[in-house]
Assembly symmetry: C2
Homo-oligomer: 164 residues x 2
């Protein structure tokens, strides 16, 4: 195992969102928007048994995120917050985490609902959503406890200069 971890792209997320502005800031806020997760054929055998799960975690590489910043004004607030207290994309390791609904699987293609990733985002991992491990509805959410400013769609604040 290398001491400098190297990632492998295992697929691509296809979505209607071509640029950050207007993209849902979280999967839970993306409504019924559908997307396709294309798992490269070499990994498709690992999808067996996934169809029994209502929801899956997608881990993906935020390939169009700007450079890391340790303080950010997040979409849901008007003041600066510590980066790790936000879900902002400009992280030292820009790994996105989305809980999406699994609509169907056909071969190596997953239809998902509630997608919030940009079209063409590199996929890193799929994990099943398991309420016993993942659901803590009463957990206090700091500055996000009351939903912050209630914003649901991104604007241009985290748009990388190279990508516009």
């Amino acid at each position: 195992m290398s001491s400098q971890p190297l990632l492998t792209i295992i697929g691509l997320i296809h979505s209607p969102f071509k640029k950050p502005a207007g993209t849902p800031i979280q999967a839970a806020l993306a409504g019924e928007t559908e997307g396709i997760v294309e798992v490269f054929p070499a990994y498709a055998d690992g999808l067996h048994d996934l169809d029994g799960f209502d929801r899956i975690w997608l881990l993906y590489w935020l390939d169009r995120a700007p450079a890391p910043q340790l303080r950010v004004v997040p979409f849901r607030d008007e003041v600066q917050r510590g980066l790790f207290a936000t879900r902002s994309p400009c992280r030292p390791n820009p790994i996105g985490l989305s809980c999406v609904r699994l609509v169907g699987i056909k071969g190596n293609l997953l239809t998902i609902s509630g997608v919030d990733a940009l079209d063409g985002t590199p996929l890193l991992d799929i994990k099943p959503y398991v309420p016993e491990f993942d659901a803590f509805p009463q957990s206090r959410a700091g500055w996000l406890q009351n939903g912050g400013n209630g914003r649901t769609l991104a604007d241009d604040r985290f748009t990388s200069k190279e990508s516009v």
Copy 2:
């Protein structure tokens, strides 16, 4: 942004668990076991505002996981399942995801409860746990719907030969 994503280790997870056998298979099954997340000083400023959250997501590099396998017999079952329908560590990108309770923060050190990572595990990211984005208690969990075989502690099945 490189097309071959490279990770940055931003800290270390310190836990009582020195080897896989006997380690909780999930944070939610680790009870009150405490650990320390050491965030390297260069990133500590990003911890601001995190103390208001009951729970945090830890993303970490499973540095002692064996080579990827697309079919595994997971801890909670006796038959082979597709890797992506399990939370097994032997993934193409061995990224661990744990929802732990945040007990306290002192400088760059976070005390956490419910730790399931091996001692010395490289930290990749911290995200706040936000029930609005992350909690779906009614979500159907496929072969894990009834808890599988109910196992809570790991054995040696995913122990890398190099690490024993």
